[in-house]
């Protein structure tokens, strides 16, 4: 079996174009998962450094692809970027997992105030600020994996197969996760009676 022919590495100008085209959406995706623009900035930097090194090595998908119409596998590169960004962000979320212990310093020790059952916002709901706040509170109750799944679908427009690749799961599992995430978001959005007030306040920041 002959050695597969090497394809030409991505040129610097093509990489610069890719960077310009995609970093905004990658940053937004990571920032949503991490809740911090600064940390997202660092993760994004790291993602593109890895991508640049991959491009330097001529590793797919950062190669000139003669099969692709414009010579570049843009969809593949975008999937790769989101995949690495997701893995970095989710790992960081897990490393940060002791954050609840911040309450030990005494700054966060007020008792959990439950909103009485049956209480709903009485105000009209047209106001998008309110809608945004309710959504943020609901989103704060989603697992990062669920939130990532929904973002990849609704915001970034990936197909189920692409979402599965990015999250590293089977397509069927991706479909189930999407369905479960939507259901959880719907429940959290419309049934907030049991949300601790402190939690909602924090989520609305």
């Amino acid at each position: 079996m002959g050695e597969p022919s090497r394809r030409a590495p991505l040129s610097a100008s093509a990489f610069a174009e890719l960077l310009q085209m995609t970093q905004g959406s990658v940053h937004a995706f990571v920032r949503r998962l991490l809740g911090s623009s600064d940390d997202a900035h660092d993760v994004v930097q790291d993602v593109y450094v890895k991508a640049w090194r991959a491009a330097q090595r001529g590793s797919p998908p950062f190669v000139c692809d003669p099969i692709a119409p414009d010579g570049l596998d843009l969809a593949g590169m975008r999937r790769w970027l989101f995949n690495v960004a997701y893995l970095q962000a989710i790992t960081l979320v897990r490393h940060r997992s002791v954050i609840p212990w911040q309450s030990l310093d005494g700054t966060d020790e007020e008792p959990v105030a439950l909103v009485p059952i049956g209480r709903r916002p009485a105000e009209p709901f047209e106001d998008q600020v309110v809608e945004g706040a309710v959504l943020q509170a609901a989103l704060a109750r989603l697992k990062p994996d669920d939130a990532a799944c929904l973002m990849l679908d609704i915001v970034h427009g990936f197909t189920t197969a692409e979402i599965a690749q990015i999250l590293g799961i089977a397509p069927d599992a991706a479909r189930k996760r999407l369905s479960r995430a939507m259901e959880r978001l719907r429940v959290a959005y419309f049934e907030q009676e049991m949300t601790p007030a402190r939690e909602r306040k924090g989520a609305a920041k």
Binding site: R32, V98, P100, L139, K176, E183, F190
Partner: protein
């Protein structure tokens, strides 16, 4: 327009259990084409599913409106005085190829792709102010993990019952309340762990397999929660009154949920119920953490602490993950 206007009628039709799990995917445009016509045909005559679908659409539209892709600020609005692309406190600005090449010229760590940059972890640690309080937290983390492990092993009959005897430093009322929790709350915590574990293992498997494997855990959870509820008659000490209230709110919510879980006819139905079970357990996590903190201060040994309620990414499972993550 009010949220209440979107609440679906409480009486689903006989076929709704079959179709409602597919509505989320339909709203996202991710339903398999061969199922779309079938679902739409049911929707035409079913107000319950119409309302359900409308709720998904509202949530999806709100998501699209409020969770967009934010544009980076242009370089000229970067905070004055900030130097270089990575200057501390500078507003994030888009990277240029030069930025990336410069960063790439630093030595490459021989690390897997998923390794998080050390600077991020350092910053994360700094934020947590893990000074003296951090040391206490670390001890408690170990304690909670060990207690969870003991409760789990105990529930499987793999370890001898490790019910501590009277705890020095606690008054009689606290001891009585604690004894009740150790007997009746600890199994509930272990049940949550089993539910989570089962879901993780069988996500991606067939719906039938998922239901067969994971529904029995709902039966156990319901029974253990019911038992806890009937024993919440012990008067707590004043400082645990809030925790007691959280337990009392929790039981009447989780019992019917678990009951519904045992009869769920679809994987997405059971997923949904598990999500609601997580939600109603969140205040209990806080309550248990508060009690464990008091116990640790009172000198209660590791095996005497209460197990958390493990489910993904909530405060209780954070404690466990933090222990196993170097």
């Amino acid at each position: 327009m009010s949220l209440n206007h979107h609440t679906p009628p409480l009486a689903p039709g006989p076929l709704c259990a079959i179709f409602t799990p597919q509505l989320a995917l339909l709203a996202l445009g991710k339903l398999d084409p061969e199922h779309v016509a079938e679902v739409r045909s049911h929707l035409a005559d079913c107000e319950y599913c119409q309302a359900h679908l409308r709720q998904y659409e509202i949530v999806r539209e709100a998501f699209a409106r409020h969770v967009g892709v934010e544009a980076f600020p242009s370089p000229d609005v970067t905070r004055p005085g900030a130097r270089g692309p990575f200057a501390a406190h500078a507003a994030p600005r888009p990277f240029t190829l030069e930025d990336i090449m410069q960063a790439a010229n630093k030595p490459e760590a021989s690390a897997p792709t998923t390794q998080v940059p050390a600077r991020l972890l350092d910053r994360s640690r700094a934020r947590r102010r893990l000074t003296a309080l951090g040391a206490i937290a670390a001890v408690l983390v170990l304690a909670v993990l060990a207690a969870s492990l003991f409760a789990y092993l105990g529930s499987r009959g793999l370890a001898p019952a490790s019910k501590p005897t009277a705890t020095p430093g606690l008054d009689a009322q606290s001891q009585a309340y604690l004894a009740m929790l150790r007997t009746y709350y600890a199994p509930v915590g272990a049940d949550y762990g089993k539910v989570l574990n089962c879901t993780n293992v069988y996500t991606g498997e067939s719906a039938t397999q998922f239901l067969q494997q994971c529904q029995p855990d709902q039966t156990t959870l319901g029974a253990d929660a019911q038992a806890l509820g009937t024993h919440l008659t012990v008067t707590p000490p004043a400082r645990w009154q809030g925790a007691d209230t959280a337990f009392k709110h929790f039981v009447p919510q989780v019992v019917p949920l678990a009951s519904r879980g045992t009869t769920a006819t679809s994987a997405s139905g059971l997923f949904s119920i598990e999500g609601q079970e997580e939600t109603v357990a969140a205040p209990v996590c806080d309550a248990v953490n508060q009690i464990n903190l008091d116990l640790a201060h009172a000198g209660v040994p590791v095996t005497g602490l209460l197990p958390g309620i493990p489910h993904s990414y909530d405060s209780c499972s954070y404690l466990i993950e933090a222990t196993v993550t170097p």
